[in-house]
């Protein structure tokens, strides 16, 4: 149990660091760490196959793919965000407080969620959404999407069962393809717009 708590604490810390980091390379490293932490958590909860698959895809594969994309397009190390970093961290903390409050209100059977797993999952989810909305760089938005998915995976972890491994693996495959397609799109954005700042996407409006 103590290892589980430690992993959950590290995940929360990782979320706040992600919200406060401006450098894309640093963010990517944190996303990789988050993938590894999620994998370790699932292995602790006896979901070994899924944990190994997550380690491979979220801990190694996707961060490498994003790093390769970043290097190939030669994007700047950081892009000014829509939402200032300090405000994002504050919002992340408020989200966590809300998640802690929400856990007390939800009618769930005793022991269904290991302690602090639900608030951590909701906090991660919220952090991911903040990254998608608050950052202007296409790469950061993809990382935000990945973090959101991590939160959902964590939220669904008590429902994972040996009989439905196919489903979780299909989700992972879907996610892998999604990030792959987004990576290709970022390559095109970089070559067409000479920037990955999607805040400049203003040509389509009524």
């Amino acid at each position: 149990m103590s290892i589980l708590l430690l992993l959950l604490f590290l995940l929360l810390l990782n979320n706040l660091l992600l919200l406060g980091t401006d450098r894309l390379a640093g963010m990517n490293r944190l996303v990789a760490v988050q993938g590894c932490l999620l994998a370790a958590l699932l292995i602790c909860l006896d979901h070994v196959i899924i944990g190994a698959a997550i380690l491979l895809i979220k801990g190694v594969g996707l961060p490498l793919l994003l790093r390769r994309t970043h290097l190939r397009i030669g994007a700047p190390s950081s892009v000014p965000p829509h939402l200032p970093y300090a405000a994002a961290v504050l919002a992340g903390m408020l989200g966590l407080v809300f998640a802690l409050w929400l856990e007390k209100q939800l009618p769930l059977p005793q022991g269904f969620f290991p302690p602090f797993l639900l608030p951590t999952a909701l906090g991660t989810l919220f952090c991911g959404l903040l990254l998608v909305i608050g950052r202007a760089s296409a790469l950061s938005q993809v990382m935000g999407y990945l973090v959101t998915e991590n939160g959902i995976f964590l939220l669904g972890s008590p429902l994972m069962s040996a009989g439905a491994v196919w489903f979780e693996l299909t989700l992972l495959l879907d996610l892998f393809v999604a990030v792959f397609v987004m990576g290709i799109a970022i390559n095109h954005i970089s070559s067409k717009f000479e920037t990955i700042d999607v805040g400049r996407f203003r040509s389509l409006r009524d």
Binding site: L106, P107, L108, P109, F112, L125, L129, V132, A138, Q141, Y145, T148, E149, I152, L155, G156, L159, M160, S161, G163, A164, F167, T170, L171, D174, V177, A178, V181, M182, A185, H188, I189, K192, F193, V198, F201, S203, L204, D206
Partner: protein
């Protein structure tokens, strides 16, 4: 049979990637569409006979509701694949060119990748409509996003790339929220000893059985309500319900017209199906009133937002896109009303898909002739492209719900449903918004048709058959559905409506 229905388009896609000759790829596209349509007809026949087929241990086992959406998707794919033959040939002839607005030089994505993605898109929609596993449905909808993103970015210029990026990010995050809905549904039944609903291939039947035992005010109720909210927000984003519709006008306006036709006519229905599965479960749990109220609310908001953006809209493909937001609103409104309005909504699904597909294909013809998307710059269509003009005018009358087209009947049924439920005020608001949209759409459409032909536009020549026959077929079907709904189809619509409170 269902295995072939799902895998055949994937096989065709793989072959397309291997075949270098464009004509062979196009032939394969039409062949795959015909084969899919034939198989779909066989599946629909089995469902109508009360002997639905099943595959992969029950993972694929469509009911009439899914069958209806499958039939629409397959029929539209067949029509657009025929249209695609002529379209892709003309695109090949054009080669590298300048963007009509910005002057940017651009080329198209490789054609075989485009046709392969079309087939993968069809396969994903088949999974969505045939499965009774909500997780697989989610995977299918996410797969439709991934397969259709390269289709939107067929013309490789900045504007289409911008639309593609918005589509990818907004829909992916939206659908991620729908996945939370799936989790919350499972949480609702944890107390009943349900360890993992994902283990059951026929998950929908299991959830419906469990929902039927939910006690009013029991611990499952808040979870079920929360699950539906997430379904509505998640799949509603993909369906284009306002105010979650932002991606829709951009993607529909920038995609090639045949892709817009499929997005609007078939894809939006798939997302609606995700919401309807949630509604089905809430009805079984005795919470149909809650989901119906939310559908009513979002339906009217969508109608209102569409009305605001349609009035004064100067971009004819965006006009059609906002019309899709309107019709998704009508569907949500009709389903939310319940009773006879749900029957109207089912007919509306069919008629809207056919009409919108027709209009987008015609918009493609107009674009290729006038080289502009501005309705202000298009005039004298009746002199420049008479056959397309007749269909365009007919399609306009159909989409705004004029008699004798099918959409008039379906919209009337929905209005009757509002009156039958004693919702006079809502009925009046619905009619008022439809009237505003009618006026808003008629101004640019009539401007395009009337007037004189632009001086620099060559005289009317014979329009290619492949560009006018597919929309003609769609238009005639919508007209026929307004005059007469065959007994078999009427029965199928009733059967589909019954599953969602009709």
């Amino acid at each position: 049979m269902l295995e072939a229905l799902l895998l055949l388009p994937l096989l065709a896609a793989a072959l397309m990637m291997l075949i270098a000759r464009a004509t062979a790829g196009r032939t394969l596209l039409v062949a795959a569409a015909v084969a899919h349509a034939v198989l779909t007809a066989a599946v629909l026949r089995r469902i109508a006979e009360g002997n639905p087929p099943s595959a992969f241990g029950g993972l694929l086992a469509p009911d009439m509701l899914g069958g209806l959406f499958l039939g629409v998707a397959s029929a539209l794919f067949l029509v657009t694949s025929v249209y695609a033959v002529g379209y892709l040939k003309s695109e090949e002839d054009l080669g590298e060119r300048s963007h009509m607005k910005t002057g940017e030089r651009f080329t198209n994505a490789p054609e075989r990748r485009f046709t392969a993605c079309l087939c993968i898109f069809l396969s994903a929609m088949t999974l969505v409509t045939c499965t009774r596993h909500l997780g697989a449905l989610w995977v299918g909808i996410e797969a439709t996003t991934l397969a259709s993103a390269p289709l939107i970015y067929f013309h490789r210029h900045r504007e289409s790339l911008e639309a593609t990026w918005k589509y990818l990010i907004i829909c992916s995050v939206g659908i991620a929220l729908a996945l939370i809905g799936n989790l919350l549904l499972s949480f609702a039944f944890v107390a009943k000893g349900l360890e993992s609903a994902n283990e059951a291939a026929d998950q929908l039947s299991l959830l419906l059985r469990l929902a039927a035992d939910v006690a009013p005010g029991g611990p499952a109720v808040p979870w079920l309500k929360a699950a539906f909210i997430f379904f509505l927000v998640g799949y509603g984003t993909k369906m284009g319900l306002a105010p979650l519709h932002n991606w829709l006008p951009d993607a529909h306006s920038q995609a090639p017209s045949l892709v817009s036709a499929l997005l609007s006519g078939a894809l939006l229905n798939c997302a609606l199906l995700g919401i309807l599965r949630g509604h089905q479960i809430l009805i079984a749990a005795g919470l149909g009133g809650f989901s119906a109220q939310l559908l009513l609310f979002f339906g009217l908001i969508s109608l209102a937002v569409a009305a605001v953006f349609i009035v004064g809209q100067g971009h004819y493909k965006r006009l059609l896109a906002y019309s899709s937001v309107e019709h998704m609103g009508i569907l949500a409104f009709g389903i939310g009303l319940g009773g006879v309005a749900v029957h109207g909504a089912m007919l509306h699904v069919l008629c809207h898909s056919l009409t919108k597909c027709m209009l987008f294909l015609l918009a493609g013809n107009i674009l290729s002739r006038y080289h502009t998307l501005s309705s202000h710059d298009v005039h004298g269509m009746r002199w420049a492209m008479p056959f397309t003009t007749v269909l365009w005018a007919g399609g306009f009358l159909a989409i705004v719900g004029s008699p004798p087209f099918g959409l008039f009947v379906s919209e009337l049924w929905i209005f009757k449903g509002a009156l039958a439920q004693g919702q006079w005020v809502l009925g009046a608001v619905y009619l008022a918004l439809l009237a505003v949209i009618f006026v808003g759409m008629s101004v640019p459409i009539l401007h395009m048709i009337q007037g004189t032909r632009p001086a620099d536009l060559p005289r009317a020549t014979r329009e290619p058959l492949l560009s006018v026959l597919p929309p003609l077929a769609l238009g005639l079907t919508v007209l026929l559905l307004g005059l007469y709904v065959p007994q078999g189809l009427r029965h199928a619509l009733s059967q589909a409506a019954r599953t969602i409170g009709g």
